[in-house]
Amino acid sequence: MGGDVSLAEQTASERRRPWSHILVFLAPAALIYTVFSIYPLLDTIRYALYTQDEHGIAHFAGLANFIDLFSLPVWADQFRNALLNNLIFFVIHVTVQNIIGIALAAMLSLPKLFGRNIYRTLIFLPTMLSVVIIGFVWQLILSPLWGVSEGFLRAIGLPQLFAPWLGQESTALVTISLISVWQFVGIPMMLIYAALLNIPEDLVDAATVDGANHLHVFFYVKLPLILPTIGLVAILTFVGNFNAFDLIYAVKGTLAGPNFASDIMGTFFYRTFFGYQLQLGNPTMGAAVATMMFLIILVGVMIYLFGVQRRMQRYAL
């Protein structure tokens, strides 16, 4: 009879019980998480303070790697290039991906939409596929040799628009970013769709009673209410983008050409750590690059947690 036991007795009985069970419950998760997630990260930061000689022995070197990373042209140019490209990559995702995602979610959440489930299922399909598949499929489509995209442009009367987008420095990064957007738009779509579904009918009704049409309802009622979700999507996109690697590796390889035009932090990290062709890998410098990536992501998350999220009003629904 839970209700009959007084509060004092309840807490007393908790104190009497051995607390070892708390440890047992927490141990597996805490152990695996610490050993394989936190410890490696801290150890990488530690390893970034060493350099390796030609026989593979590591020597302590303080901040030497970081100084080289920022000052030596052979490192600094690539680092700066990768960072800038990563920012562009992120901006394209936040704008194109999230706007399309919001638009799709808004349309899918319209009342009594015929075929809603089918649309949703099909549009989400690319997200389920591995990036290797996506990368290669799009390479084939955009390939000047196979001619699918060229033929398509010719069919709609715009043959002069065709260019080897993946091979030109000016368009390679944007093209790959758009391919990535194409793949992952399903995630913001689903998250925002869920948030939209949660908006109580009363609010929508109140607005429509006042004479608002669907567009009004969306921009003045729904959008403000889903801003927290949009914020969450933005920060998840940020973390994901500054961690990204798979698509560019699958499409352009480790060199992220042409002339490093598609090089982002993830590929720069991989190439530094594992080396490429005749260039040997440099694990300590790789650790330094990883540390920088971690700091950048940390700064972004801090800005979000303390700058953005606090300011967002959470409406009690």
Partner: protein
Amino acid sequence: MTSRSTPIFGRLLRSLLATAALAAGGAQLVSIPAASAQNLTIESWRSDDADIWNGTIIPAFNAKYPNIKVVFKPTPPTEYNAALNARLAGGTAGDLITCRPFDASLELYKKGQLVAVDDIKGIENFSPVAKSAWQTDDGKTTFCMPMASVIHGFIYNEEIFKELGLTPPKTMAEFHQILDKIKADGRYTPIDMGTADQWEAATMGFQNIGPNYWHGEEGRKALIDGKAKFTDAPYVADLTELASWGPYMGNGYKAQKYSDSQNLFALGRAAIYPAGSWDIPIFRKQADFAFSAFPPPLPEGASKCYISDHTDIAMGINAKSPNVDAAKTFISWLASSEFADLYSNSLPGFFSLSNAKVEVKDPVAKTFLSWRDTCESTIRNSYQILSRGNPNLENELWNVSSQVINGTMTPEAGAKNLEDGLASWYAPHKQ
């Protein structure tokens, strides 16, 4: 990556995890070291050759040594070095390692990852030149058994040439005349090469026509000594010639990858394919038209011809392999005349480095080989010593060559870029 400061932690964890794994009955998930002593795995970048290795070469070996099972496990060429190094560091590399020439393999030997092969029967079948690509700087230790060299040139579609009334060019001027004629005709791509993968621009472009400009070994040695610089005339001329190729390449060549180029030629849609002789087997298999080859055309004023005849491929033994003896048996067989003959003929375009007399039957391979009689041989100038630092010359050449062809860098800027990169770490080039 070698031993670091956490051996105790690692050991403790290992025992913890092992216990847990056993308790959970998950023992089958933890890898058990291979118990079979006579299984060999070959690491290689020659993914195109997998069928021949598995179907022809390894069975021939097994005819002599039935108890040693060999598996050919290639990695795509652009990923090979990085993947191999990672596997060697992690202890999961195969028993037999296909060795890149010079510095790349020297580094492996210095790290103790390759076994010296001086005592293996058959090493005496190779000349000092052949061995030099896989020896320590003092020439005292050889760490890979040489296998073959490759020659560079231009493969062309004989039927297209006949149709357009063309004959193989001897000079660069003639070369450009032919290119113009093919382009004017409009049906075929004159030069079949792309810049998406970058390495073809350097290997089948820069290093292909280059020896004619820098006079082969003379120029290469001068670069190493610091007497020649990349900003000198021969190298700028080489890059200038490359820069002129863009208009003759296929539509959208900037996104054309190596396999696209191979496909394009094999489908009969291109006339001339800047080649390494290793491309011959692919075209043998897939092209249904007659094709032949011509050597790199001579630049204006040149009378002596040079070809890139590059000691390309060798086989070494992983020092940590559990089957070193079986590996040594295999390596010894690779030095035999039986293998030399088999390799050169089942993979025409790989020319055995062995002293054994080999009769090459493939006509196009024979053509490539015949150039050794009229032209002087040299190896690619970026492989010995000049790719030891950062930025290494080979990767830089890839970048500069493809940019020059793409038109995003002038030949002069490209040459300066190469020289500056080299000068940043290589003493003889620091002024």
